[in-house]
Amino acid sequence: MPSLQAGYAPNLSFYLKSLKAQPVESSIENLISLLKRRQITNSRPCAVATAHLLLQVVAKFRWTNIDKLIKRIQDVGRRLIEAQPREMVVGNIVRRVLGMVRDEAKEDRNEDASDSASNSQSDRGASHSGGPPPTFSPLRFSTTDDSDSTEATGDDVFEGQSHGASRPPLITSHTSYAPAGGLPPQKSMFQLLSANPSPASTPPGAQSPQNTSNLNATSLAHRITTSTKDLKAEVIEGIEEIVDELDQADDRIAAQSLEYIHSNEVILTHSSSKSVQKFLLEAAKKRKFTVIIAESYPNDHEATHKSVTRSISTDAEGADELSTPKFSKSLSDAGITVILMTDATIFAIMSRVNKVILATHAVIANGGLIAAAGARIIAKAARVHRTPVIVVSGVYKLSPQYPFEFESLIEYGDPGNIVRYQDGALVENLEVDNPVYDYVPPDLVDLYITNIGAHAPSYLYRIVADHYKTEDINFDKPELQ
């Protein structure tokens, strides 16, 4: 196996292999330079690399205090984002990990405060973050002996149920009395009137804050230091969950394909996305249909051609970690009628298309998406013909940042793909632009299919709220906080 120094183009699998052996700091530097040199590109490889790196960061970092850990993750995250700001997944993964650490810490605090109410609390935390596992027991052992250290448990030993309701300060909102189905919003309208000005806790009622502050001041710091080991294990487990989610995202999306692709339909897609490929291949197991692929010249046409005819595991970075046998089947091998055509014919063919399926580079909080160049033409043509546009995307691509300027999200690639540098006459007299991505506004998309289900674009803000904490959204830009 050639090492990084051997002159081979390093890619994701090399990086992942090098992670264990190298010290953390050089791993970070390594990933930064890989991102800068575009040797790791595209959403999934970036996400996987980031998640694995953060796993090492957490595992090898000595910390006594949860704030220190959060600070450390933020520092690493900031450097990675600076290295390649347009790979938005890097920031997403860092935010997911930060949110998960905060959840674990809060749970830890909750367990300290009381055992009796911890079940309902934990469930709430889990559904709130989406990522972390619903297993919370390890921490409870260390806290069984300190019920006397909190007044909260003192007076409520006889009725755990009412106690749960009387401890709202630890929940992020006032909805503790609301039906269990409703997720607590990040902030509530009661904030204006609440007794406690802190945005993290808006309980109705005045006495409980004393309990919490007492708890925070004395028992909490102590408790965290004693249970750091457990917390660390929890955090690492949480990051592994995120890694698993990255691995399984495409399968989860593909599992829904039969609901959306019917027999004899004509599907239009473009570029060579693995999520879309899997989606189509899964449906092809049961149904016969036609796929029209726009070749997306000049940035992705070679990979697109390959995906139609040959094994797609031979091209494109990051494919090596996914090269399972069943995946190396091409679309035409799977019995799909495949029609490859140039991008210019998209509008002409649209009247015969039943459904458009798009892949994404990143999804942004307003419901719009960044996708390979040409996506907006397709979406617009589909709108003219009233053809439904379906976007397949893992939740990890969903970014909580609000795009104030869509132009800044579009990356410009190598103009040599359009006009060769040897072509002197043209190069001298022309300015050649080669945008790699397109921004598709939310009103051109009908449905998002993610690994957690199908959603309307207007619902995406809710998924953002479920997966990211508000305090983490702008962690890399302190002036926005």
Binding site: S166, A178, P185, Q186, M189, L192, G205, G367, T470
Partner: protein, 354 residues
């Protein structure tokens, strides 16, 4: 028991008039929004009242809120405040909740100023979020006298921490019926070095081609994510949509109001905007009092919707008239809890009421 609050003036000190208090609060502090003024007025009511039981207090607050609403021509915005206050009291006085009656009452009474300052801090926060929408070389179209929008544009004009200020221009749509307010907004922006062009309402479509984004304020954000705002907002939103320009609303979350209008004539208030007249008969005849010819009044509507106002409010004049902008025209709402899509409003409201 139930009789205590039913007559609006009974049960409290005779000299306390909530409507007058509300107007006084609004005129004393030009920065106060209507919902917050309503909350302040209700707090003063609690100070004056001698109600000692939970039910008595809630009943008093409810009847006085209804009375206040009935006396104000356009009660949509202020009802957001009274509703929020009532929901807060109900939820914090629930048996399962931590608050007992005395502590909740004491908290509300002693923190009146705090609520006002929080509401104002919310405006600052919105300005902080919103100024990032204003980029170099952009042209912003706005109208009305919204203080949030004023704060937002003012913030954008200020030099940022990283150095250098944003160079943007503003097109302000003048309102003939409220020219003093329009002039104040324009001059305060020009004072900050922002180039401002003033256009008439008829020129919005003409100017839209030069505009990069529209930012307006709102009196109330309704349940479907639409907004109720100064007359003229709807047409600006329609034109912005037609031209493909983003349309942003800057509003505090205490303006979220539980109302689900389906159209312009569905707001629950009377507005004398459309008045048919002929030369020889200046007043309406009975024959003209048909549903189709005119904005329907409260009386006609209550036939179908069964509302029972204590007294019928005065109709809204053209100066204060509002219109409803449906959610499909709104790109995003900039609130102090972040930049929300219109559908997030209903969720906030649902979490408040259920």
């Amino acid at each position: 028991m139930a009789t205590v609050g039913n007559a609006p003036q009974a049960g409290t000190a005779k000299d306390f008039d909530i409507v007058e208090t509300y107007h006084r609060l609004l005129s004393d502090d030009p920065d106060l929004t209507m919902p917050v003024a309503a909350i302040e007025a209700l707090i003063e009511l609690l100070v004056q009242s001698r109600a000692v039981t939970v039910f008595e207090t809630l009943d008093l607050v409810k009847t006085q809120s209804d009375y206040l609403k009935s006396q104000i021509p356009n009660s949509i915005s202020l009802s957001a405040g009274t509703d929020l206050f009532q929901r807060y009291m109900i939820s914090s006085l629930k048996p399962s909740s931590t608050g007992n009656f005395d502590s909740v009452r004491q908290h509300l009474l002693s923190n009146g100023r705090l609520f006002v300052s929080r509401a104002k801090a919310g405006r600052e926060k919105i300005a902080n979020y919103g100024r990032h929408f204003v980029r170099d070389e952009t042209v912003v179209l706005t109208h009305g006298g919204s203080r949030v929008v004023g704060a937002l544009l003012g913030k954008a004009a200020e030099a940022s921490a990283s150095g250098g200020n944003v160079r943007f221009k503003v097109i302000y749509v003048m309102n003939d019926t409220r020219s003093s307010e329009s002039k104040a907004v324009v001059s305060s922006l020009r004072l900050k070095g922002v180039p401002v062009a003033t256009i008439s309402e008829g020129a919005v479509g003409y100017a839209m081609g030069k505009v990069d984004l529209v930012i307006v304020g709102a009196e109330g954000c309704v349940e479907n994510g639409g907004i109720i705002s100064r007359l003229g907002t709807y047409q600006i939103a329609l034109l912005a949509k037609a031209a493909g320009k983003p349309f942003y609303v800057a509003a505090e979350s205490h303006k979220f109001v539980r109302l689900y209008p389906l159209g312009q004539y569905d707001l629950g208030i009377d507005q004398e905007v459309i008045k048919f007249k002929t030369e020889d008969e200046p007043d309406l005849t009975d024959a003209e009092r048909t549903f189709a010819n005119r904005t329907p009044t409260i009386e006609e509507r209550s036939e179908y919707f069964g509302s029972s106002p204590i007294a019928l409010p005065r109709p809204n004049t053209v100066v204060d008239a509002v219109d409803f902008t449906p959610p499909a025209l709104i790109s995003a709402l900039i609130t102090e809890s972040g930049v929300l899509t219109p559908s997030a409003v209903s969720e906030e409201l649902i979490s408040l009421w259920y």
